[in-house]
């Protein structure tokens, strides 16, 4: 009968505080590992939640107005007058989306991300499409937010402009590390900068509106702009598409309902309302002010910086706005570092992504997801030279595609789960879904050649990738399945081959191991230089202890090929036998000493990995002086 022994090693760790890793640099950067029981279960108030979940949405004010104006600028100076109407349309869109999402909050109190809502209600295909769109969205949020945050910094300190790519990448590295440590301090971390940003930008708008309205403040500087394109519906649609980036992050609260205090749904819903109102105010406010000051986008200074310069001059208040902008944008990037790993862990648990993404690391965070996001977004920033405008066309498609799938999923949800007032709710979500669907098409079409094609192509490819991963796991599960499996009979014989290149202590240790696992042992040497072989033969006579030595000749200086042929021969003549190839391997005192030794062992292992009935074992010999 099998016996079950259960050994608790937990106690041992408690003594020393935590297990010690071999890399102290890792410990310094990331802190000590956390026990599984230390998983946080903390609830946050509405005020804190607003800060934590709104930074992404609110921060888009820093670039959305500018992107509208930049798109319009192609139509010349007159076209800029359309900035305000376009902004008004986007504010209306924000209203529709926010109302629609409030219903999701009530229907999915456990958190209704687009992936879950679309998968549950529309099926696997739309679910995966939403997931792909969201993953792209998260990566783009990091890239755009960091690029835009750095633009805020370089607007205030123009001498840093040439170094923006390296600053971007450093910030991504910083945020990645912070997230690898764990983000439990997030309330305390997020609230001050978010409210500071709302306060600074609110001040800027109010003072600005007051000064332009009542003090008759003139435009900051005469602007010169030559249009390159006719002012038409296409131009306006493109401006609208660019401005739609203002809505990214609006869905964040609906994903995070369980983090609210009870009553969760009600609190989350109220917070979403506040957030939409603040976002609308800041967005419309900056758009009006940009219009009154007749600001024109310039590559080396952001619109927001120009605005702050115009209203506050170059004093402390100006720097306050820039610092607040940079900080909230970095926070916005940070939110993706929570969302991306969470979504990819969900996908991994459903076997649509490699399972490593579902593992919690030392600090209880999904380390692999965090690292992947950091690498991909850093790469994007390098490729696009940290230029916000170049990244924008890739951004909004994913956002609105996930909005659409989520809203349409809700429509189906109300249809399948009719409750009180379900028809009204269904109409609201339908309105939201249809609106965002139209917007998705507008964005994809108007920005297609500017870069949206990348995302339009990437999303189906990602979905196919998800399905391929799932197929692979299914295949593995099937081929490992024990259903109808007869346990294999013991091998008919077991040959152990000790591969040697010389005769030394390591070889004798390997030989000792070989003799302890089988009585059928042979040593084997591949001859590259006949002189060496002769020396090996002489020494083998002295030390072999009766084990035979086989020598294989190799004309091409390859060890692997003759060995592989020898094994094939043996197994052909002895079916149902098993062969263990024992490699004497000496372990240097420092890992970099490996560089000074042939990696033949690795080559052999790789080459024999696919050979049926052959097992390769390294017998380590630990080098040290004065051994006896």
């Amino acid at each position: 009968m099998p016996k079950y022994v259960s050994i608790k090693v937990e106690e041992r760790f408690k003594k020393s505080g935590a297990p010690e890793g071999p890399f102290s640099l890792k410990r310094i950067l990331l802190g000590n590992p956390l026990a599984t029981s230390q998983t946080p279960h903390q609830r946050i108030s509405k005020v804190v939640a607003l800060a934590v979940f709104s930074s992404d949405a609110l921060s888009s004010v820093a670039y959305a107005t500018e992107e509208i104006l930049l798109a319009l600028a192609a139509g010349g100076i007159v076209a800029l007058n359309y900035g305000l109407p376009v902004a008004a349309c986007i504010a209306a869109l924000l209203f529709v989306v926010a109302v629609s999402y409030r219903q999701t909050i009530h229907a999915y109190p456990s958190g209704g991300g687009a992936y879950i809502v679309a998968k549950e209600n529309l099926g696997q295909g739309p679910g995966l499409t939403a997931a792909a769109a969201l993953l792209v969205d998260y990566v783009m949020t990091v890239a755009v937010s960091i690029a835009s945050g750095v633009a805020a910094i370089t607007s205030a300190f123009p001498s840093l402009f040439d170094h923006r790519v390296i600053i971007c990448v450093s910030l991504v590295a910083f945020v990645t590390l912070a997230n690898l440590r764990g983000v439990r301090e997030s309330g305390a971390l997020f609230a001050p900068p978010t409210y500071f940003f709302v306060f600074s930008l609110g001040m800027l708008i109010l003072v600005g509106l007051f000064r332009t309205e009542f003090l008759g403040m003139p435009p900051a500087q005469p602007a010169l702009l030559v249009g390159t394109e006719e002012l038409g519906i296409l131009l306006l649609l493109r401006a609208f598409a660019s401005g739609c980036t203002a809505l990214s992050g609006v869905e964040a609260i609906s994903n995070a309902v369980p983090a609210f205090r009870t009553p969760e749904s009600r609190n989350a819903s109220i917070t979403l309302g506040w957030m939409a109102a603040i976002l609308g105010f800041l967005f419309i406010g900056t758009s009006i002010l940009a219009h009154r000051l007749e600001l024109v986008p310039r590559p080396e200074e952001t619109i927001l910086s120009q605005m702050a310069h115009g209203i506050f001059g170059s004093g402390v208040l100006y720097y306050m706005v820039q610092v607040a902008t940079a900080m909230i944008l970095i926070l916005a990037a940070n939110t993706s570092f929570a969302d991306f790993p969470r979504l990819s862990s969900l996908l991994a648990r459903d076997r649509f992504l490699p399972r490593q993404l579902a593992n919690r690391g030392d600090r209880l965070v999904f380390s692999n997801g965090i690292i992947s996001l950091g690498l991909v977004s850093a790469l994007l920033l390098v490729i696009f030279h940290g230029n916000t405008h170049a990244l924008i066309p890739l951004y909004a498609v994913g956002v609105f595609l996930s909005f659409t799938l989520s809203q349409l999923g809700m429509v189906r949800h109300w249809y399948d789960n009719p409750g009180p007032g379900w028809r009204r709710k269904m109409v609201v979500n339908l309105a939201g879904g249809v609106t965002t669907a139209v917007v998705t098409v507008v964005i994809a079409a108007s920005k297609f050649l500017h870069g949206a094609w990348v995302v339009v192509l990437l999303i189906p490819l990602l979905v196919m990738g998800f399905q391929g991963v799932r197929r692979h796991y299914t295949f593995v599960r099937e081929s490992l399945s024990l259903e109808g499996y007869k346990p294999p009979a013991p091998p008919a014989g077991h040959l152990v081959v000790v591969l040697i290149a010389g005769v030394h202590r390591g070889v004798l240790e390997a030989l000792r191991y070989a003799r302890s696992i089988s009585s059928n042992v042979t040593a084997l040497s591949v001859e590259i230089d006949p002189e060496v072989t002769e020396r090996v033969r002489q020494r083998w006579k002295l030390w072999s202890g009766g084990i035979p030595l086989t020598v294989l000749k190799s004309s091409y200086r390859s060890v692997v090929k003759p060995l592989s042929d020898y094994l094939d021969d043996y197994l052909e003549k002895n079916p149902n036998h098993m062969v263990t190839v024992v490699l004497p391997e000496f372990i240097p005192t420092h890992w970099w000493h490996h560089l000074m030794h042939n990696q033949t062992a690795l080559l052999i292992k790789t080459a024999l990995l696919f050979k049926h009935g052959v097992i390769v074992t390294s017998v380590p010999h630990h080098l040290r002086r004065g051994e006896d």
Copy 2:
């Protein structure tokens, strides 16, 4: 009694032509492997030898004159008049060095590289210093020659100037690949471009001298130049130091005596004379012409290109000069790809460098040395933006240091082996050695802050590295030595631990292996999720065949730490026992499928590598559908 079996697998390869490698891209790029017996033993005539071994030396004409003028240019337009006297000094130096090296050829008919001559006559320290200087020299030859070759190309096609770094790196990659294939065609490869260069440049000089002397050709264009420095001895010394790069490669023939037809030494000596004469003529010729045309160095066009433009206009003859220059410079880089791997293989055979550098690859060349040289020189070109002038200060120190050590070694050689006329020979080498020693100091001092400090620092570091490598190998040999070694007694017991995370076919195969190598087997599972453990327990009951299951609890989600503690415990209680940890590992059908599985096996192997008495074995399970 041991029996000796010798199996010749050579025949098997002959059938199929050559062993097939797993990577067909490698075969396409490099060609099929060559048998050891195919090592070439070919002798070449003086005419071919001159081409093969002179390209490095002759090609320096392409940049040496320019570097002199560039150094002088800091002193203003008047300083350029000193170009000719400086060039004359360098020509005199060339004469001294060439005469000195002719003696080396006669004394070392088997090839007298600076490393060998210095080591044999002056000892290990000077030998290693010479070797370090030479390795640096070879790397710099590649970098400078390629940079200068690309400058010849971009002078002719200025639109390529912005892409010079990528062109440089591509050329290095091309030369690296060509050398990895093997350079046996070198005679046919080298002779045409080298003689074409000598012819083109000779034509340019003769036509130029004729036109300026007799046809009263005016300077090409009025030159404007403002000096930044006073014209003094320091400036002249720096110009001289820059020009000394003209001598790099002069030693090549003395290293290659065995490649000549008999009488080897005599033929090599004559060839060296020709080479020095041609080099002197080309170098002085271009210097005179540059002076007469009052050429001023410009970043985007080389002096040689300006000269060819001035004399030949912009027609076919101009392009001929540029093409010839670019070609010989690339050939010059190519010579380092023979020298560097050969020297590093000598060092590796003497255990001063990792032994991989002494292995001949598939194509019988020292592949690792070739790849290392390619990588390092490509890196240098990227760091220095493919700028010849920036590289030059790092160049000449190594060249002249190795000259000096080689000549001084010869002095000692004559003293130790007095033969007919040894006193005269000793004086000649002493004159050469002292001259080059003075030049080495002049170069290192005058260029110290411009970059020579890097080499002055690097050479001792390399020597220390060589000695460290040698110490490591000595240590390894000592700790593997069987002198006074008693073969270890068989282990007192052998526990086999099969590590499992679930119960599937792979696990049962691993169990089968475990049972075949010991009677003391246990399965072991590390608990991360109690629910999973429970499932494993249930299934284990069905399939274990009586083998016990041990469960270890892990609070920190680590598999390695509890396992390691368990093994420590066991070995503490059972000294002289041995433990094999068997890991069921399934082998996916494609290598990239590995990305979708945890690399726990690798982590475990790495962690247990240093544990005494523990051996880790993977039992591969090959995934395939429809298995029974």
